[in-house]
């Protein structure tokens, strides 16, 4: 094989610029955050509360997303119905909506004075300023990532496989659990990881819809924001942690993608 000619300096220079632009801020953040005091800061009450709130709410949001999003993705992949294209597109809306808009929309729908405010109040559901509101904001902004990936997963293999299993006498649930789910699994996992990462970073909608109280509704991004107002140290510590988590997410996605390409035979 002949050696490729040396690249032109202009694209190399522009690429270096882009790479610098993308990586320098993260580098600067880590440079300032990674001090001997980091460990101690990570054990402060504000940081621990934020981590706990984030872990619980993103966990709950992921559970809701999986439970409600999987059937949606399956129906979208398998069934034809009137208006499916439009429905499909509308479900992606929260993905491209600015988070603050999502927050306003949630307030107007589920807030005390909102569209469903009165019925919810009658039903005894009180979301305002509760971790439940945080979960709702996270589901709203992150579920489409999962639905999209899961739908692609259900479309990634020949439905005849399901048909064959059905002929062999598999019941509906057994079919889904033994055949459909394993075949789509890498996609579902990827969607779940993406959705979780999105809800972990959720900020705008949460602040507007759920408020910000330490130990109740103040997730990691909200804690970073409120700490940045007085003492930057906890903000930096949490930011460094978020960088590490983001890196973990990317690594996981790489591993899943690798697994998806290898045929499972």
């Amino acid at each position: 094989m002949s050696r490729a000619p040396a690249p032109h300096p202009v694209p190399v220079l522009l690429s270096a610029l882009m790479v610098g632009l993308l990586l320098l801020p993260v580098f600067a953040l880590l440079l300032e955050a990674l001090t001997p005091a980091l460990g101690r800061t990570l054990q402060s009450a504000a940081v621990r509360d934020a981590l706990r709130v984030s872990a619980l709410t993103t966990g709950a949001a992921l559970a809701v997303t999986l439970a409600l999003g999987t059937p949606v993705a399956y129906l979208l992949a398998r069934r034809q119905f009137v208006g499916k294209g439009l429905f499909d597109a509308l479900l992606d809306l929260p993905m491209v909506l600015p988070p603050v808009v999502a927050g306003v929309a949630l307030l107007l729908a589920f807030g005390q004075g909102g569209l469903l405010g009165r019925p919810l109040e009658v039903a005894g559901v009180d979301l305002a300023f509760t971790p439940g509101a945080v979960v709702l904001a996270q589901v709203f902004t992150s579920a489409p990532f999962y639905v999209r990936a899961a739908r692609a997963g259900f479309l990634a293999f020949d439905p005849d496989v399901e048909g064959a299993a059905r002929v062999d006498g598999a019941g509906r649930w057994a079919l889904f659990r033994r055949v459909t789910l394993p075949l789509a699994f890498p996609f579902l996992l990827e969607g779940a990881v993406l959705a979780w990462a999105r809800s972990l970073g959720e900020f705008g909608a949460t602040l507007l819809f759920a408020g910000s109280l330490q130990g109740e509704t103040r997730t990691v991004p909200l804690a970073i924001y409120s700490a940045a107002e007085s003492d930057l140290a906890p903000a930096l510590a949490l930011s460094a942690l978020m960088v590490a988590l983001a890196f973990g997410v990317l690594l996981t996605l790489r591993l899943i993608a690798g697994r998806r390409i290898t045929p499972a035979q």
Partner: protein
């Protein structure tokens, strides 16, 4: 109260602005003003009048004073800083980032509830269990003023035993700036809130009920303003501050619910 934005007047003002734009001299400056979020309406209007008079272009960045201070400490460029408390201004001065300040307005707190859900038993009702109270966060000037007022109310003995503790137990959110607090009461999301009197904007007035706090538990907070050291338009910045302190600037501030400069 006379509204200043009648159609005839705004047309005249637009014409004036256009004239000034056409005849503007080379001395027109672009000013960036960092200002506490409680100043959003008043300073916004002052800026528009100032621009139409001078041909300068004034831009604002409104946020909680403490956020703005953090941004300035981290190298944000601006010409003027108008803070809701000296506590957020003085550190910039001692770090050599800001020039001397002058006080240009004062403000007092007030309690808001949604119009349809008044406080049971007046202000003492703030301590009723289950009430959803929102306040500005502890690092924000409005939050500091709220804490001060609560302890004064407690000390007065007029609002029941352990007032501060019981009220604190009702806090469901500590917001990053005072306008967020007002917004959430306007939307009916919270049951009550401490905000500045100046946060009672025309858009909010019909949706909320206000409870005046006695002056004895509600000392006014003073707003400092000053030119930042990094300003490239120090002269125009000083002119802006003079205009804010002028009778006309003060009239606008008073119309938006502020008390005049001390």
């Amino acid at each position: 109260m006379r509204r200043l934005s009648g159609p005839g007047l705004s047309f005249r003002r637009a014409l004036l602005a256009a004239l000034i734009l056409v005849t503007a001299e080379a001395g027109a400056a672009r000013l960036t003003v960092f200002a506490a979020s409680s100043l959003t309406d008043a300073l916004g209007e002052i800026g528009r009048v100032f621009d139409s008079r001078t041909g300068h272009q004034t831009r604002f960045s409104f946020a909680g004073s403490s956020s703005l201070r953090t941004q300035l400490e981290r190298g944000a460029r601006a010409d003027v800083f108008a803070s809701a408390s000296l506590g957020q201004y003085a550190p910039l001065r001692s770090q050599g980032l800001a020039g001397p300040h002058t006080l240009f307005a004062r403000n007092r707190l007030t309690v808001l509830t949604p119009a349809a859900r008044p406080l049971i038993g007046g202000l003492a009702g703030l301590a009723r269990p289950g009430l959803r109270l929102i306040v500005a966060g502890p690092g924000v000037p409005a939050g500091e003023a709220t804490a001060r007022t609560l302890s004064l109310m407690d000390a007065s003995g007029n609002y029941g035993p352990e007032f501060t503790r019981r009220v604190r137990a009702n806090v469901v959110s500590e917001e990053p700036n005072v306008r967020q607090v007002a917004l959430k009461v306007g939307l009916g999301q919270a049951d009550a809130a401490f905000v500045y009197r100046s946060d009672l904007t025309p858009g909010l007035r019909g949706k909320v009920r206000t409870y005046s706090l006695p002056d004895s538990v509600n000392p006014p907070v003073a707003y400092p303003i000053g030119v930042l050291k990094g300003s490239r338009e120090a002269e125009a910045a000083a002119a802006f501050i003079r205009f804010v302190r002028s009778p006309e600037g003060q009239r606008i501030l008073i119309r938006w619910g502020f008390l005049p400069a001390p």
